[in-house]
């Protein structure tokens, strides 16, 4: 019976948004309760739906016609339902946490209104059954992120970051939209030309219809479409080269970073690729044998981003920025999973990637909330000014340590005991290796494994610098209130134990596309046996990273000041984030677009088209002429007479020339 009310999953938060926005001031605690209740409702319905459809491998499909052959609809299949539960659950926890975190902010109603709108939009992304609704919700999600990053709009940096986030993701969105345009055109053409028919009650842009049309669509077109979609994903999920906005997005409240820029929104890109995976998988393999082009590119972009972001994570001093880069890098892992695993085990890749997505959601949200709690207590973001916090903030410290373990993917192989990250990430790395084995291309694997090492180094660097040693600044700090710590503990539990659900999870997700399109995904070849070293390696690098950080930042065995100095070009490069902000914002944004193109356009418009042609050539000439001719009117009557006689003579001559006559 829950599934009948699936629409409410989105509608409840929307209602909460409207009410909170307009009369939040009057409600208790700035109207925090309403959104919390609404999102709790969404979570319950999602969970109930899950319980309903899980046993009987069912899916929920509802859809209503909208305009011009488009529709609005709901599609809850395994892929969607797990996302639904995760999003609503994490969002719920973070809302509760926010009650404490935002307690001092006077604009609470706006905050809660926007977050609940965000939740609604995100849920709508997850359960939309057609690409257009997906895109629309996706844009609204972006809008909310824009609003929430700029929540403290009076901070210029916040306003700038909000704008940057929106614009950079906008680039991706335009690619996405172009993809939709291409898709729509191709669909209509095969409908017109190749006798493809949209079944009764289905609509042209529904995923179902799209997947059924795949075999008919021109392969190269399919590659374009999928790559354009992936462009959108790059924007949203902060993949290289559109990753720059995510670290800046940390200008928003930490809860926002946790909810939007770690747990949920940024994963929308991954979700998009997962959602349209069949199309990616169906693209022709021209670049590398047996690997669909789109997947290959997804894999490389993902892998590179994983490594690239991790390197910057090493040197950041803003606690939230470290986490932000770690998010980017982890998203890279998910993309990598979709690419490599997709190439070797097909649709199962979705399960692998999604599992990491969800476990990441738990421990990354946890990390951010811990960071939030630290910031809340210390009042600064700079880890160089922290230190020795563990004594004062036991809960935060412990939970954050757990989260760090999960992120680093620490666990015990072979007996399968470990944190969530252990299962999810190792699976990805193994698949990357398998991909290397089968396709003879180990680069993605190299990306993955190196990134794993760096990951564990920077996260433990962070933990050690923040929680151990002696305080590096005399800031009084205290443990956060219960309303904040309890969500931490809950998330910590998930970060620890969620991993054990992996097998069931994989099985469930593998059925995903069969359930929708009805056709069985071709069973992939048995995953080959791997030498233990390969299985061990991820854990080894994880532990290694821990030890390195321990050595450097706790025991201070070797002095970093040599390395960490503005002389060191590598360090500078990293610290300046590969000069991405400079290139992106300043050069392309301001210099090129505004100063060069726009201003020259302005010049042409005002000075040449308008100034020269309209005003000077036409206007002034006439005035001058008028002034001149006017002076011919001398007022002396003989001149008038002369003019008359002159004219007379001229006319006669003119006509005599014209026809001689006698």
């Amino acid at each position: 019976m829950f599934s009948d009310y699936a629409a409410l999953i989105v509608l409840l938060p929307v209602i909460a948004f409207v009410l909170t926005l307009f009369l939040g001031k009057k409600l208790y605690s700035g109207g925090a309760l309403l959104p919390i209740a609404a999102i709790a409702g969404s979570f319950i319905i999602s969970f109930g739906t899950f319980l309903e459809i899980y046993p009987k491998d069912g899916i929920v499909q509802q859809s209503w016609p909208w305009f011009a052959g488009m529709n609005i609809g709901i599609l809850i299949d395994p892929l969607a339902v797990v996302m639904l539960m995760m999003v609503s659950f994490v969002s719920l926890l973070i809302h509760i946490y926010a009650v404490g975190y935002m307690s001092h902010d006077h604009a609470k109603p706006r905050y809660f209104a926007e977050t609940s709108l965000f939740t609604a939009a995100m849920l709508s992304v997850v359960l939309s059954d057609n690409i257009l609704q997906f895109f629309i919700s996706w844009e609204l999600v972006g809008l909310c992120s824009f609003l929430l990053i700029g929540f403290w709009y009076h901070k210029p940096s916040a306003a700038a970051a909000a704008k940057k986030a929106f614009l950079v993701t906008r680039v991706g969105d335009v690619l996405f939209l172009t993809g939709i345009v291409l898709l729509y055109v191709n669909m209509s053409e095969i409908i017109a030309g190749r006798g493809f028919t949209v079944p009764e009650g289905n609509f042209i842009l529904q995923f179902k219809t799209m997947f059924e049309a795949i075999p008919l669509i021109n392969p190269t077109q399919l590659t374009y479409i999928t790559l354009l979609f992936f462009g959108g994903a790059i924007g949203k999920s902060g993949q290289f080269p559109l990753h720059g906005w995510l670290p800046d997005a940390m200008e928003g409240p930490t809860t926002v970073s946790a909810l939007i820029h770690a747990a949920t929104m940024v994963t929308a890109g991954v979700y998009l690729v997962a959602r349209t995976f069949p199309m990616f998988a169906a693209t022709p393999s021209t670049l590398s044998a047996g690997v669909p082009d789109s997947l290959l590119i997804v894999a490389y972009v993902g892998g590179f981003t994983a490594l690239f972001a991790a390197t910057m994570g090493l040197v950041m001093n803003d606690i939230k920025r470290v986490l932000a880069y770690s998010t980017v890098s982890q998203l890279g892992y998910m993309m990598l999973a979709l690419g490599t695993a997709g190439a070797v085990v097909g649709a199962q890749a979705v399960g692998i990637s999604m599992f990491h997505l969800i476990s990441h959601a738990f421990f990354k949200a946890l990390l951010f909330l811990c960071a939030g709690s630290v910031i809340h207590a210390v009042g600064t973001n700079d880890i160089r000014e922290m230190g020795g916090l563990f004594g004062k903030m036991k809960i935060t410290g412990t939970t954050m340590f757990i989260a760090a373990l999960a992120l680093a993917g620490i666990g015990i192989p072979f007996i399968n005991i470990g944190t969530a990250g252990f299962f999810s990430k190792d699976m990805i790395i193994e698949k990357a290796f398998e991909y290397g084995e089968l396709k003879g291309d180990f680069i993605p694997y190299a990306f993955a494994i190196i990134a794993a090492l760096l990951t564990s180094i920077y996260i433990f660097r962070l933990w050690f610098m923040a929680f151990t040693g002696k305080p590096r600044s005399e800031r009084h700090s205290h443990e956060s209130p219960g309303v904040m710590t309890r969500p931490l503990m809950i998330l910590a539990l998930f970060a620890l134990f969620f991993g054990f659900a992996h097998l069931g999870f994989y099985d469930y997700l593998n059925k995903n596309f069969e359930l929708m399109t009805g056709e069985k995904a071709a069973p992939e070849g048995e995953s080959l046996q791997m030498s233990p070293i390969i299985v061990l390696l991820p854990v080894i690098v994880g532990v290694l990273g821990f030890l390195i950080s321990y050595a450097i930042y706790h025991k201070k065995m070797l002095d970093m000041s040599k390395l960490v100095s503005s002389e060191n070009p590598l360090y500078k490069l990293l610290l300046n984030r590969y000069y991405e902000p400079k290139i992106g914002a300043d050069i392309i944004g301001v210099k090129l677009t505004h100063d060069v193109v726009a201003q020259s356009g302005e010049f042409v418009d005002r000075k040449i088209i308008d100034g020269l042609v309209i005003d000077n050539i036409i206007g002034n000439t006439l005035f001058k002429l008028g002034e001149f001719v006017r002076k011919l009117q001398t007022g002396v009557v003989q001149n008038y007479a002369s003019v008359i006689l002159l004219g007379l003579g001229l006319l006669i001559i003119l006509l005599r020339i014209k026809f001689g006559g006698t």
Binding site: A68, G589, A598, I614
Partner: protein
């Protein structure tokens, strides 16, 4: 229930005359609101009775006028005119409400606004070319006064430039009308200015040269009004100098006359013109050029209002593009763009007006952080800006989506170019917001207050409408699509596009 349309046109006219004669501003604005309100009600009645499934003229009326020239007062509505009539009747009352506080020569002010309503309603409903032209011209005069009496520092220049520039365009259009009229006359032997009749006989003209000449003359007449690059330069001046109400009417209604012309006149002729392929390309180029050019120039502006003016140019570019694409849904998308831009641009110009009025400047650089003191305005302005940059869920998105998606069938390259512009569209909107509204408050502005209630109210209503039509375009979109399909039957018939 006949004569609804002429009633709808007559009431504002009477209202205008009464308003001119009133003594106090209270009376003036009350009567203005009353008259436009009644007109709105009538248009709503028409709208509710309108059958959006048929493409023929509905609520037609016809009265003899000048027999010897074959002129008669023909009015009527179809899916092309109806939405714009509705738009006009929505915009004008809201403008009156927005300008509720006008003190300078209030009776003239409101009277002129009503006259504008009369003019545009006449243009959108008249089906006789002669009458059409007369209304087309009449619209200029009140706008000239609105700019020249209530305008800014360079109002003289702007007003006269607007007047002459657009007047030249309409005279050129008149020449084309002459030729159509003469052509139809020679064929049938009886003079008639009936619009459809003239358009139908266009195909009979022998010389392709003459056909193209007529076509281009008409096109010129319309795209100057829209305005499209490179004939747009009157617009920024007019907008910058005009009072807020003037800008609102100018952008929301007068520009739409150009677009209306495209659908009512240009598209029926296009398939029969001398060289359709070339002309389509020409229109597409004009459209895309307007989109990109307008976008980049908006990016360069320092004056908020001027920026909005250029954004209008780029948005009207979508109309040209969609019309040129000659795909049913692209055409109806273009029509929808007219409708939605009419609503959105109101909000933008009203925001500019409120800021100007409260902060005393519109220069983006001199503003900053005004959100602190003007929360309500900020909320509405942000909503308007988002709508303008095509955020889904707002009417603008539907229009642009339809245009882009469907134009791709016939004009792929142009669509790609247009898509390229979208990023920058978002760019200048957000950049302006960031510098003018957000950030730290610029103390030099002194103490500023939020918009007055009536201003906020009218903007709020508009935002609600924008969202409503963004979520549920069907009420107007269906009738547009019906007519678009009917228009394009001939195009396909002629095999201009396959």
């Amino acid at each position: 229930m006949a004569a609804l349309i002429s009633l709808m046109i007559a009431i504002p006219l009477i209202g205008a005359i009464i308003t001119f004669l009133t003594r106090t501003r209270e009376q003036a604005r009350f009567i203005a609101l009353l008259a436009s309100g009644i007109s709105l009600v009538i248009s709503l009645i028409i709208f509710s009775r309108f059958d959006s499934s048929i493409s023929t003229i509905q609520f037609g009326e016809s009265y003899p006028w000048i027999a010897s020239l074959g002129v008669s007062l023909k009015f009527g509505l179809d899916g092309i005119g109806m939405p714009l009539v509705l738009l006009s009747n929505i915009v004008i009352p809201l403008t009156v409400i927005f300008a509720w506080g006008e003190t300078k020569e209030a009776n003239r002010f409101y009277g002129l606004i009503l006259l504008e309503l009369v003019g545009v309603l006449g243009v959108f409903t008249s089906l006789d070319f002669f009458v059409f032209y007369i209304f087309w011209e009449i619209v200029l005069i009140p706008m000239y006064f609105l700019i020249n009496i209530w305008g800014g520092p360079r109002k003289d220049y702007a007003a006269i430039k607007f007047f002459i520039y657009t007047h030249v365009a309409s005279l050129v259009m008149l020449l084309a009308i002459f030729s159509l009229y003469f052509n139809a006359w020679t064929i049938s032997g009886t003079p008639s200015f009936d619009m459809f009749y003239l358009l139908k006989n266009y195909s009979v003209i022998e010389s392709p040269l003459l056909k193209d000449a007529i076509f281009l003359a008409l096109l010129f007449g319309f795209i100057v009004k829209m305005p499209a690059v490179p004939f747009h330069t009157w617009l920024p001046d007019a907008h910058v100098e005009a009072p807020t109400a003037g800008s609102v009417i100018l952008a929301a209604l007068l520009l739409k006359m150009g677009g209306y012309g495209l659908f009512r006149v240009i598209l029926p002729l296009l398939p029969y013109s001398g060289s359709p392929a070339k002309l389509i390309t020409l229109m597409a180029i004009i459209g895309v050029l307007s989109i990109l050019y307008g976008t980049f120039l908006a990016l360069a502006q320092r004056d908020l209002k001027k920026m909005v003016a250029y954004s209008s140019i780029s948005h009207m570019g979508y109309v040209t593009l969609g019309a040129a694409a000659l795909v049913p849904l692209s055409v109806s998308g273009a029509m929808y763009q007219q409708f939605s831009h009419g609503l959105i641009t109101c909000v933008l110009f009203m925001s500019c007006g409120v800021i100007q009025h409260s902060a005393g400047t519109r220069i983006i650089g001199d503003l900053g952080g005004i959100a602190k003191h003007m929360p309500k305005l900020t909320f509405l302005m942000l909503a308007g800006f988002l709508a303008s940059l095509g955020l889904p869920g707002m009417s603008g998105f539907i229009a642009e989506f339809l245009v882009l998606v469907n134009s791709y069938f016939t004009l792929p390259t142009f669509v790609i170019l247009a898509l390229f512009g979208i990023v920058f569209t978002a760019g200048y909107h957000l950049w302006a917001m960031q510098r003018a509204v957000f950030g730290t408050y610029n103390e030099k502005l002194g103490h500023i207050h939020d918009g007055a209630n009536y201003e906020i109210a009218s903007m709020g209503i508009l935002i609600l409408l924008i969202i409503f039509f963004g979520l549920n375009p069907n009420p107007v979109l269906n009738m547009m699509t019906t007519n678009a399909e009917q228009l394009l039957k001939f195009v396909v018939l002629r095999g201009v596009i396959t």
